[in-house]
Amino acid sequence: MQDPTRNEAERVARLSYGKLVAILAVRSRDIAAAEDALGEALLRAISEWGRSGVPANPEAWLVQVARRIDADRWRRTVSAARGSEQWLLLEDERMSGSAFDLQDDRLRLMLACAHPAIDPEMHTPLMLQVVLGIDARRIASAFLVAPSTMGQRLSRAKARIAGAGLRFELPDRSVLADRIDAVLAAIYTVYTLGWDLAFVDADRSADLVEEAIWLVRLISDLAPDHPDAFALLALVLFAEARRGARRAPGNGAFIPLDEQDPARWNHTMLAEAESALRHAGRLGAIGRFGYEAAIQAVHVARRSTGTTDWLAIEHLYRGLLSVSPTIGAHIGHAAALAEIGDVGSALERLESLPIERTAMHQPYWVARAHLLNLNGNRNAAREALSKAIGLTEDPAIRQFLLERRDRLVTD
């Protein structure tokens, strides 16, 4: 039998976990303690709400109870000056009532997670766990690190926040400017996590995508003059609008971008993405997300023009390479060069990439196979495709590549 009280407590925990931790940790700066207190408050909620009903504002109830638990703990365990100072802060907070500024607290916690004293590699995992309540196991999966290792790294980073007393500054402009990139990168990761789950766990995926879009909207509100925030908003919306069209309706087979049916794209979302990108462009210098979003914009323009302007895409990839010369950008650029008829120099560029970066990189081998095939070199194309297949994780994409390899032989 389902227990409605437990369900309500679980629902609040699921939807508001990160927000509540943020609120609790803002003053105490101790994330682990905030999580403990919230966990205990949730347990109390299950028994107390069962007796007296679910309160009108469950979140405020949880925050108050968790604060009391936290304050009691300090009173019991901490002596000396530092403890009493902390206790006063908590008391002060408790007395200030239940009104809290959700958005600022949440963002403040994200900015604290991006503090320069914390290992940059842990910025995103920390934000994912602390602010979004994603469990260490799932974060470990996203970063392909053993779950126990990720758990330890997260604990260490949290201890560092508490131990070093890193401040949860108000997001004033200077801090925001220094750390917004880390926050945007984390939001982008949340989005890609959701994207990867799309065909595995649709509900969880929708939650994460919604969360990412919500966060990027929030940060673009708070940094209205930051072009990257709007560019990321555009990028995320462009990708999201094409989600359904990536898989065939019946068998779930993978469909690459250039074979997708534009009628299956979400046109409302595309229009919003385009307007966010225009806004980003008006704000100033275009960065990594801006170029990536602009490349998407050219691709989806096919829905009205019927063709893909590869000349524009090639140009944009050159721009992307100037600000962010990643291996992916080089591969995209080579593919665009081939599309505008310059297969020779496209292949040359691919071959000039450092082998230690390409040897294990699946998209490199897919692109290389495509270019070799365009060049009439079937056997080498087949070899490259085999290599790509051996490096593929997603079974739908593996199947797609296997079929492509079969076609190469029978042609």
């Binding site: 392909l144 690190v145 053993a146 290792t149 040897a359 294990m360 085999s386 290599k387 297949i389 051996g390 490096l391 593929t392 994780e393 997603d394 079974p395 593996r398 296997l402």
Partner: protein, 114 residues
């Protein structure tokens, strides 16, 4: 560091079945080739179906044999790779590319250091 990658596959994905009946059939060759070309492969083999297994125990000095695998689970050990890579993260990256990772499960175990 050496790691054992154990491929747990669905009963119909076994190597002694006809390749065209194994949905992962063509993917195994590509995966093995990728391991070889990366220079990390130490060894490995594919196993016949789990129903061909015989399990042996000696209890109080008496032999006990039964037909079939040690544990009757949904997925069965279908083969293994032995790889030599710098660390666990790299081993996990290879495990994720293993065709069994999406159709069954893959277990990664470090070899004991001697």
């Amino acid at each position: 560091m050496q790691f054992m990658i154990l491929n747990y596959v669905k009963p119909h994905n076994f190597a002694d079945r006809l390749a065209e009946n194994d949905p992962d059939g063509p993917a195994w060759g590509a995966y093995t080739k990728a391991l070889l070309e990366a220079g990390v492969m130490v060894g490995g083999a594919a196993l016949s179906s789990a129903h061909t297994a015989t399990t042996v125990r000696v209890t109080n000095g008496r032999r006990e044999l039964h037909d079939g695998p040690y544990a009757e689970t949904k997925e069965q050990l279908g083969g293994f790779y032995l790889i030599d890579v710098p660390d666990l993260d790299t081993a996990l990256a290879w495990a994720a590319r293993n065709p069994a990772a999406s159709s069954g499960a893959v277990e990664v175990r470090p070899l004991m250091q001697t």
